[in-house]
């Protein structure tokens, strides 16, 4: 976690432990901390404080947007279909796929960089609008696996013209660190963020919900967050989330430039190993993700060697057993399964240094060469 976030949450773990929904003085102190956090978050996200909902993370925000929108339409008895792209994070994709057998979910293909195929989206929306209602379209701002940036302004233009009644949601979890959020917020109706992606605590999140957007809450109860997300406030988590987001936004311009340069060096060093290619062109992706595909190796084996050498990386998402699953995102982008087995995703962040980059290149080069010499003929 960012030191600013750790410092911000400390008082609320011990001294100010009150439930902010209470009416006594300690409750009021906690309440004030949440109100201030909300103001701070709104300033970064580019919205009104009343449009900020604190919740349990990006997955919850994604589920709330999709099921909340679909249920609102279904409650009126109308036909409804949620739409998303094939390379969405599972937090979105599995919601839409869950609805698909009931005729209420449609997945649209992507281009070679994992961004939704805008022309295909327009066709789907026109067809669905003719049949019934499209309650929600969910398109990620930045792909979580490869880092490609989606032009949400173009997506918004298509959605507003082909399905004007649809709520446009974006999973902006991967964008928070690297992109100015206000222009994204301006394009959409609902936006989900995860605190731990910008140095805040895990299990905390933010949802922007535009005034006037009408969806069913996912969680009912005590009516916190203006009835949109019940459950006692996680005061320490909310305060730390705001502190982390504010610190991230303050450094964003300089950090983005610094990390973009380091990522360039990293990719160049990895490509020089041979048989390695960057999955996404640098200018189309956020600097915090370096995604490559390495020919002739299996990433499961590579990750073990990297871990042994002290380099923590990832390859694809893991299933409940902990096994790596073939990436649905790379499949959507048309990366052949054989090449996708050699996918490697490296993250760069505010703690990454130039010497980290050069040692990573050395470690990966050694491991790749070892595996290539040991691979079955």
């Amino acid at each position: 976690m960012r030191p600013e976030a750790i410092a911000a949450m400390q008082p609320f773990l011990a001294d100010v432990y009150a439930n902010p929904s209470g009416s006594h003085r300690f409750a009021r102190e906690a309440r004030r901390a949440i109100d201030e956090a909300r103001d701070a978050v709104a300033a970064v996200v580019g919205c009104k404080p009343g449009e900020v909902i604190f919740n349990g993370g990006g997955t919850e925000g994604d589920n709330t947007a999709i099921f909340g929108a679909v249920r609102r339409i279904q409650a009126t008895g109308g036909a409804a279909a949620a739409v998303c792209s094939a390379a969405e994070h599972h937090a979105v994709l599995h919601c839409v796929e869950h609805l698909t057998p009931h005729g209420a979910g449609v997945v649209v293909g992507t281009n070679g960089e994992g961004s939704i195929d805008v022309a295909a989206l327009a066709d789907v929306l026109r067809r669905l609008s003719a049949e019934g209602t499209v309650p929600v379209v969910s398109v990620m701002a930045v792909n979580n696996e490869v880092g490609s940036i989606t032009r949400l302004d173009e997506v918004a233009r298509v959605v507003r013209s082909a399905a004007p009644a649809a709520i446009l949601h974006t999973d902006a979890v991967q964008a928070a660190c690297w992109l100015d959020l206000a222009p994204i917020t301006a394009c959409v109706d609902i936006l989900s963020l995860s605190s731990h992606k910008f140095g805040g605590p895990k299990g905390c999140g933010i949802m922007f919900e535009r005034v006037g957007v009408d969806i069913e809450p996912l969680i009912f109860g005590g009516g916190q967050e203006r009835d949109r997300r019940s459950g006692t406030h996680n005061v320490a988590g909310i305060v730390a989330t705001a502190a982390a987001l504010v610190a991230t936004a303050a450094e964003r311009a300089t950090e983005t430039a610094r990390i973009a340069e380091l990522r360039g060096e990293l990719i160049a060093g990895l490509v020089a190993i041979g048989g390695v290619r960057a999955t996404i062109a640098a200018e189309h992706s956020v600097p915090g993700i370096a995604h490559i595909c390495i020919e002739g190796i299996e990433n499961e084996a590579l990750l073990f060697l990297l871990d042994e050498a002290g380099l923590c990386a990832s390859a694809a998402s893991a299933c409940a057993s902990g096994a790596l699953e073939p990436s649905h995102g790379l499949a959507a982008m048309g990366v052949p399964r054989e090449l996708a087995r050699g996918a490697l995703r490296l993250s760069l962040g505010h703690t990454t240094t130039r010497s980290d980059v050069s040692s990573a290149i050395g470690i990966i080069g050694t491991a790749v060469n070892r595996l290539r010499t040991h691979t079955r003929a």
């Binding site: 499961e300 084996a301 073990f304 299933c319 057993s321 902990g322 096994a323 040991h374 691979t375 079955r376």
Partner: protein
């Protein structure tokens, strides 16, 4: 040594890992994710991986999960399904050992710099007079698994370790309990891991191959009944062919999926002395004729026999005493005459005798 322990989440591999650690080796545990589909039985369920990981945490060793589900589908599940469609009864656990545990996993271990792969099998690896390793029967006769690891040869034998092979199951469980391992009293796995207990083989195969009804005839060729799915009929079977509890006990003595015919007969009609084996793997690399004992199921008794080598891959086995016919596709493993160690193993053919062989009887 740096060793990779294949941890299924069961008690044997848990204790194997503990023993290797106790001997001072650098131990890493791995659980293979093999079956990607639905299952409620075997080694690939999330709770089994959880057990393996918790044991590894308890021992303070690293634990990995390798996803070999593509290989498992290609090398074990697809052949299993295809075999049933053609009237052959395969042993998927043996094919899994052959293609996954002692092939895919050992190659991966090699590439990652491990000196050996360790499993919890109840079999022993003992050097012979020439110093070559051989698979010997495990210390617990009732739990012996030399049959299912018979395919180990050459370099694989040098790079594999069975630390619990000399122990009885009771000793393994006692040691697990003594070490406080959570798997100490976990029941043994029994069934084919990728086939759900609910629905079973019939439902599993029914989703993957078409079933065909077939004629049931006696050994003279007279029609005596019908079966709904000839693909589900196995040699030696008595129930499920519509003739159960008829006056004379009748058994399936032959299945021909091509003509969709099931032949039934008396127990006497099932008796054979000839066994034609193919796809032979020899522990020492060279085929040899002679007197051996042959075992045809995981926990069946071995039988004395004479073996004639036909060629590198085929042998003709002649049992001293007739025995119920073994279904084609099953593994037959040859042990030395004292029944102590694995000499070779192969797969049972549909015919009882190779056409060219001498002295074979039907």
């Amino acid at each position: 040594m740096k060793v990779l322990v294949a941890m299924s989440g069961g008690v044997d591999s848990s204790v194997a890992a503990a023993l290797m650690q106790r001997e001072g080796h650098h131990v890493v545990g791995v659980t293979m994710r093999l079956w990607g589909g639905e299952s409620d039985t075997g080694c690939c369920s999330v709770s089994d991986v959880d057990d393996a990981r918790r044991v590894a945490q308890q021992l303070d060793i690293d634990h990995l999960v390798f996803n070999f589900s593509d290989d498992f589908q290609e090398k074990v599940v697809d052949p299993y399904v295809h075999a049933h469609a053609t009237g052959v009864t395969p042993n998927p656990c043996i094919e899994c050992n052959r293609s996954l545990k002692f092939s895919r996993l050992t190659e991966r271990a090699d590439a990652l710099g491990f000196d050996a792969v360790v499993t919890g099998h109840h079999a022993r690896l003992v050097p012979n007079a020439k110093g070559e390793m051989r698979v010997h029967r495990g210390g617990d006769a009732a739990k012996d698994q030399s049959y299912v690891v018979h395919m180990l040869t050459g370099r694989e034998l040098e790079r594999t370790l069975f630390p619990v092979g000399h122990m009885t199951k009771a000793e393994v469980r006692a040691l697990a309990a003594e070490l406080g391992l959570r798997t100490a009293s976990k029941p043994d796995s029994q069934d084919v891991c990728f086939i759900p207990t609910t629905g079973g083989r019939e439902t599993f195969l029914g989703k993957r191959i078409p079933f065909h009804s077939g004629r049931v005839v006696d050994t003279e060729g007279h029609d005596v009944g019908q079966v709904e799915a000839v693909e589900l009929v196995t040699i030696g079977q008595r129930r499920g062919i519509g003739l159960y509890k008829t006056e004379a006990k009748r058994f399936v003595v032959d299945v021909d999926t091509a003509s969709r015919t099931v032949v039934v007969g008396t127990e006497g009609d099932l008796q054979r002395t000839g066994l034609a084996l193919h796809s032979m793997v020899w522990a020492g690399g060279t085929p040899e004729s002679g007197r051996f004992r042959v075992q045809c199921s995981a926990h069946g008794a071995s039988m004395p026999c004479a073996v004639d080598v036909i060629d590198g891959g085929r042998v003709q086995v002649t049992l001293d005493e007739p025995h119920r016919r073994i279904a084609p596709g099953q593994s037959a493993v040859l042990f030395d005459e004292s029944d102590a160690w694995v000499v070779a193993g192969g797969l049972v053919s549909a015919a009882s005798a190779w056409p060219a062989s001498v002295g074979a009887t039907a």
